[in-house]
Amino acid sequence: MSAPHGARHATGAVGVDAIGELAVGGQVPDFELLDHAGNQRQLSQLVGGDPTVLHFYRGWWCPKEQAFFRRLVALQEDAEVAYSRIVSVSVDPPEVNAAFRAGLGARWTFLSDPDRAVQTQLRLRETTDTLNNPYVPAVVVISPDLRIHAAHNGYWYWGRPTHDELVRHLRDISRDLRPDWEAPTP
């Protein structure tokens, strides 16, 4: 909970400037992890050419995560037709992620980091939970080059992005990304 965000308060921008190694304007490392089905997946391949919500969460057992996932499940109803993607990352193994995903009705990719290699690389270990050593809850919204457009520190629940804030981030990236954003007219 030490991310600097004074400048953002001054401008009214949502989110934080940085959490762990994830800083707005920087790039997420192109890490590889197993997905919920046990396939090795590379972040850049998962992101493809679309804006992406990259979500790090504690685990299936956390009530705050369960609440936030309901928000993301609602978002997927928009995202499924908006050429935008979602990727969720935790330290849970693939079979746990697969069961959690199915129970949620989530139709996006879950990644597993049981060795905590990416967690260490990104400095996203939640140090106050020495039992589970989970990810500190964080959401970054990234463009296809893995550049971070927005970051949210979800350690305290109200730090997490709302549906509207996520839409705003995805819209901003899409506007820059799609050459025909201004619809062609006669």
Binding site: D35, A37, L46, G48, D50, E80, Y83, W108
Partner: protein, 170 residues
């Protein structure tokens, strides 16, 4: 994405870039499953397929081949087709899947590829089989590869001429 066509034909598949014998569940020959990488449609019954499914070095597989009955057409954006795509993303992903298209606006069928016994059992629950009839076939080596699951949750095509789940514009 390059144009890639798929058809189940009787007899040899003329000019195909990949082809293999298909066998019905009762053991009877079901024809030749063939693929062509070219712009023009190679044979009358050919449908566009996600090119990532086609691999001349691919091993034998089981498939669920869903095809629209003759004379029947359904918009690709029909809610039933949308829901089938959601179901594909929700459930364990097979070795590969592709919708099949003849033009930019209609759903003409789908192919789901299975390799493991578990995937094979799931072919009987192919979401696309709720739309049009499915044929369960075994296909010899030489045509079918594997494609990674889509990231999700996108159910739209990346350009109306491209089969789902191909996931890039251009």
């Amino acid at each position: 994405m390059n144009r890639c066509w798929l058809a189940l034909v009787e007899g040899p598949a003329k000019g195909a870039d990949a082809a293999a014998r298909a066998i019905a569940t009762d053991g009877h020959p079901a024809g030749t499953l063939a693929a062509w990488r070219r712009r023009a449609r190679p044979v009358r019954e050919a449908l566009r397929v996600d090119e990532r499914l086609i691999d001349p070095d691919g091993s034998a597989a089981w498939i669920s081949l869903v095809l629209a009955p003759s004379g029947v057409r359904l918009p690709f954006d029909d809610p039933a087709v949308q829901q089938a795509r959601r179901q594909v993303l929700l459930h364990p992903f097979p070795a590969a899947v592709s919708t099949l298209l003849r033009d930019d606006s209609h759903f003409e069928g789908a192919i789901t590829v299975a390799r493991s016994p578990t995937e094979r059992r799931r072919l009987r629950e192919d979401p696309f089989a709720r739309i049009f009839p499915s044929r369960l076939l075994s296909v010899e080596s030489g045509i079918l590869g594997a494609a990674p699951p889509p990231t999700g949750p996108t159910i739209e095509r990346y350009g109306s001429g491209n089969p789902w789940p191909w996931d890039r514009f251009g």
